[in-house]
């Protein structure tokens, strides 16, 4: 009779598909997040190109109203939940343990679970495409358009279920990172000595822990209204506006969740490529905390048109204006970092500089929205679409590109090609401005958003053509990036452990790092821990310090496990019960129980 420990034995470390399915290594999980989020970035991009093709000319009949409404809904959901957030988590996964001198995150199997749940949530959200019934009420899905009465098709069911599953993934991951940062820092690494990226990741994770439950409540109430006939968002018995409050109490911190990791990345990149430390490190940290904190007080600036009354309008206008201050302070600190520096224009640095240029524009247009009376002209027009894309593309995405060009060598051991990188940068930079710049103008000329077509001769035709042209240029730039990404895996110049002469601990070990990260956990005596060992007292050491790299070291690391994947499958099946059949729910529950018990009972090695 086989013993329990035999039945539940952990799989061996391996390459190949089995190794990836059972991995609990934060580096591999980071790579899984990265490739999956790049895939969904392309999906979201395709959805955008389709919309721009439709809007290139007035009165276009290329894409039907219903398809267009699905496209703009899915474009936003995909970009926010399936591309930008997971890309942030990819970097959290890769970098947090390396930057704090740890061997892995606090809960490696939970980490793997977070990834698989994300993948299944992403699939759930996209299942609607199979029957041409994707969610079609906008990513914000305002009640009561989303009720069964006005949206009887299954699309919004995928919205509710998909986002519930994705929220679970984010929550589990965030809790993991918070515990990791609090508990697993190397000796001597007080919080103020922690690298700025890990700080921003930490703050973002706390925001996630607090914000995801709010949308979860909203989604459960919407789900109950749709599946069980409750009346939370009913116009007579409930309150339609309740959804908006719940959504935006989540939704506004969400945008800070989208931008803080990006800010963390460029805050690492500027010091490296200007060869100067980050100016005002504690101020940059505290601005991040201030933004996260104040971000909770501004949500109803998304609701200026709903007629809340002069008092709420005034309060939210004032708080929204206030949040410009810590954001501006960060920009000034970045400028002061590169002022007087010795600036190297690598592709990564160019994207980071592009980030400052474009995010500033997005932030300033945001300031114009905060003026509530004037926002009543801007809201729901393309002027807002311009703002969103300057902060999310010009901000988050540019920083993500900067981060990829910077940390890809650490992850894969080879540099991305700089020449392709420059083409990538310029095409994306120019294309982005061509696409979203004119939207400021057409928005102020009254062109509403979320419109599948617009009439001719409102004065909007020419600039829409320009926008659509710009989107094609961006697409080419992104294709070049893809080519660079895959080609450099095999043909990129070998990176070595510290190709950029950087400042933080991840650069002190090999590229890619060994399975155990650090042969010896470092002792930290200050910020920019690695830099101090290379340039003690500001002067270069004779021989650079290289971490001991050998396969003879046997360091006990967490063993791979099947159960995160199994548990994730169970959770996904449970979620899908509502749109399939109760038997799926039973199957899901059984799978979940199998996953959970296996997880609990499997041996440690």
């Amino acid at each position: 009779m086989a013993s329990l420990s035999y039945i539940l034995r952990r799989p061996e470390e391996s390459d190949g598909i089995w190794g990836w399915l059972t991995t609990v290594d934060h580096k591999r999980i980071g790579t899984l997040y990265m490739t999956t989020s790049i895939f969904f970035f392309l999906v979201g991009g395709a959805e955008a190109i389709a919309m721009r093709a439709q809007l290139a000319s007035p009165n276009s009949t290329m894409i039907s109203a219903d398809l267009f409404n699905q496209l703009f809904t899915m474009h936003a959901l995909t970009m926010i939940f399936l591309a930008i957030m997971p890309m942030g988590v990819a970097f959290f996964n890769w970098l947090i343990p390396l930057q704090i001198g740890a061997r892995d995150v606090a809960f490696p199997r939970l980490n793997a679970l977070s990834y698989w749940v994300y993948l299944f949530g992403a699939i759930t959200l996209n299942l609607g495409w199979l029957t041409a019934n994707s969610p079609n009420a906008g990513w914000f899905a305002y009640a009561n358009l989303t009720s069964i009465q006005f949206s009887p098709t299954v699309g919004l069911d995928f919205y509710v279920l998909g986002l519930l599953v994705l929220g679970t993934s984010s929550l589990l991951g965030a809790m993991n990172f918070v515990v990791t940062v609090i508990n697993l820092r190397a000796p001597g690494m007080t919080l103020i000595r922690m690298p700025i990226f890990t700080w921003m990741a930490f703050i973002t994770s706390i925001l996630l822990v607090l914000a995801i439950p709010v949308i979860t409540i909203g989604l459960i109430e919407l789900g109950f209204d749709r599946f069980f006939g409750t009346l939370f968002f009913d116009s007579a018995a409930g309150d339609v506006l309740l959804w908006q409050h719940l959504f935006w109490v989540f939704g506004h911190p969400e945008v800070y969740i989208l931008i803080l990791p990006a800010m963390g990345m460029v805050s690492e990149i500027f010091p490296t490529f200007a060869r100067k430390p980050l100016f005002g490190f504690p101020v940059v940290v505290f601005s991040g905390i201030a933004i996260a904190f104040m971000g909770w007080s501004v949500w109803a600036h998304h609701m200026f048109a709903t007629g809340m009354g002069p008092v709420p309008d005034s309060v939210f206008a004032a708080t929204t204006m206030a949040i410009a201050i810590p954001t501006g302070v960060k920009v000034f600190n970045w400028l002061a970092t590169i002022w007087g520096g010795n600036i190297r224009f690598t592709t990564s640095m160019m994207f980071a500089l592009g980030f400052i240029a474009l995010f500033t524009i997005g932030g300033l247009s945001g300031m114009t929205h905060a003026a509530a009376p004037s926002d009543l002209q801007q809201t729901d027009t393309y002027y807002i679409v311009a703002h969103i894309h300057y902060v999310l593309f010009g901000g988050s995405i540019m920083a993500i590109f900067a981060g990829i060009y910077y940390w890809y060598p650490k992850m894969f051991g080879r540099l991305l090609n700089e020449k392709l990188g420059k083409w990538n940068f310029w095409l994306v930079f120019i294309g982005m401005n061509m696409t979203f710049g004119p939207m400021h103008y057409v928005g102020l000329m009254g062109m509403p958003r979320r419109n599948y077509m617009y009439p001719s001769d409102m004065g909007w035709d020419f600039w829409n053509q320009i926008s659509s042209g710009g989107s094609l240029i961006m697409a080419v730039g992104i294709l070049i990036f893809l080519h660079n990404f895959f080609r450099s895996r095999r043909k990129g110049e070998i990176a070595g452990n510290d190709p950029w002469d950087a400042r933080t601990l991840e650069w002190s070990i090999s590229s890619p790092p060994p399975h155990y990260n650090f042969a010896e956990i470092p002792e930290v005596t200050g910020g920019d821990a690695f830099w101090e060992t290379k340039y003690p007292g500001g002067k270069k050491r004779e021989a650079p310090v290289v971490d001991i790299e050998t396969n003879d070291i046997h360091i006990e690391m967490p063993r791979p496990s099947f159960y995160p994947l199994i548990t994730a499958v169970g959770m996904a099946l449970l979620a899908l019960t509502m749109v399939t059949h109760p038997i799926v729910g039973v199957l899901g529950l059984l799978t979940l129980l199998w996953g959970s018990y296996g997880w609990m009972l499997e041996p440690a090695e």
Partner: protein
């Protein structure tokens, strides 16, 4: 109201523009001045970690700017709900705006707050008169917006909202629903016609009238009954009292069709040119294309394809255009 909004926007815009120029200029200057020079690869600049005075300075300055913008903002907010004191002695009319998927009903109220007359999709107002709007919805959230007169205000089922505007000159003002409301959100448009006080009074007097009984003798009316139109539409003075679709009593005097998805000019003439010239289409081609297949013109339209023959369409179109 729109003028006040524009002034506020320009204030914030110019401040933002100045900040934009400063930040971007600094960025460009830094990129040029501090670029790495040949042979300088290893040069380590002075490792400045921070400067407290600078931090205080560039925190206080934004605070002052923000306060400077917030004050006029707060002053402007009350004005987006109710007309400011300077309009206390201006004549006022009250209109209830009811949003429905995907058209607008306008119920003009008399001095007692009762319904004076009902029309749809085209609102006439006298110039230099405060128009107070009460905003309602019968289905989902829409948003009433005529940008050149005022910003937007949502219409929300289950609660009443309010806004106001005041046209200082005659003209035709285009509007559209601004809050995504389903399949034909993009086509839920409206027109506001601002005209002189006398012209408005004449228009309103006409709107109050129902149609004479003789209309019920026409072939068009028979079709209107047989095809079920009476189930959804009202024509005051007849037995048609349906209230699901727009009130058609004076459809013929309106300038557009189906909440301004189509106009009554030649099909080849575009939107804006038609409204500038207001020449009617003698062949009623746009109206006929609507009657032929409403969901094809307006996706999701609750008015179905009634399967009308060409001659039925012509008869109905002429009947409707006669409802002046």
């Amino acid at each position: 109201m729109a003028d006040g909004q524009k002034d506020l926007f320009m204030l914030v815009f110019w401040i933002a523009a100045i900040i934009f120029v400063i930040v971007e200029a600094l960025l460009v200057y830094i990129i040029i001045r501090f670029r790495q020079k040949k042979g300088q690869e290893d040069y380590l600049p002075k490792a400045t970690h921070g400067n407290t005075m600078l931090e205080i300075g560039w925190t206080i300055l934004p605070v002052l700017i923000v306060i400077g913008i917030t004050i006029p903002t707060l002053r402007g907010i009350a004005e987006t709900y109710d007309p400011p004191k300077e309009f206390a002695n201006t004549a006022t009319i009250n209109v209830e705006v009811v949003g429905a998927q995907w058209w607008w009903e306008y119920r003009y109220l008399d001095a007692n707050g009762d319904i004076d007359f009902v029309t749809a999709n085209e609102m006439h107002i006298p110039t230099n008169t405060v128009v107070k709007l009460k905003l309602k919805s019968v289905d989902v959230i829409h948003s009433f917006s005529v940008p050149r007169l005022a910003g937007t205000r949502d219409v929300i089922p289950g609660r009443d909202n309010r806004m106001w505007f005041n046209a200082t000159e005659e003209g035709i003002f285009m509007g559209q629903c601004k809050e995504f409301c389903g399949a034909s959100h993009a086509l839920m448009r409206t027109i506001v016609v601002a005209e002189s006080h006398d012209n408005y009074t004449q228009w309103a007097a006409n709107q109050r009238l129902g149609v004479p009984n003789s209309y019920e003798q026409t072939a068009g009316w028979n079709l209107f009954q047989d095809k079920g139109c009476v189930g959804c539409h009202t024509i005051r003075g007849t037995t048609a009292v349906g209230d699901i679709g727009p009130d058609l009593t004076h459809f013929g005097s309106r300038h557009s069709i189906a909440s301004n998805v189509l106009h009554k000019g030649e099909p080849s003439v575009n939107f804006v040119d038609y409204y500038n010239d207001l020449e009617r289409d003698d062949n009623l081609e746009n109206l006929k294309s609507w009657l032929e297949n409403p969901p094809a013109v307006k996706p999701g339209s609750l008015m179905p394809d009634l399967g009308l023959t060409d001659s039925e369409i012509t008869t109905l179109a002429e009947f409707l255009e006669n409802l002046q």
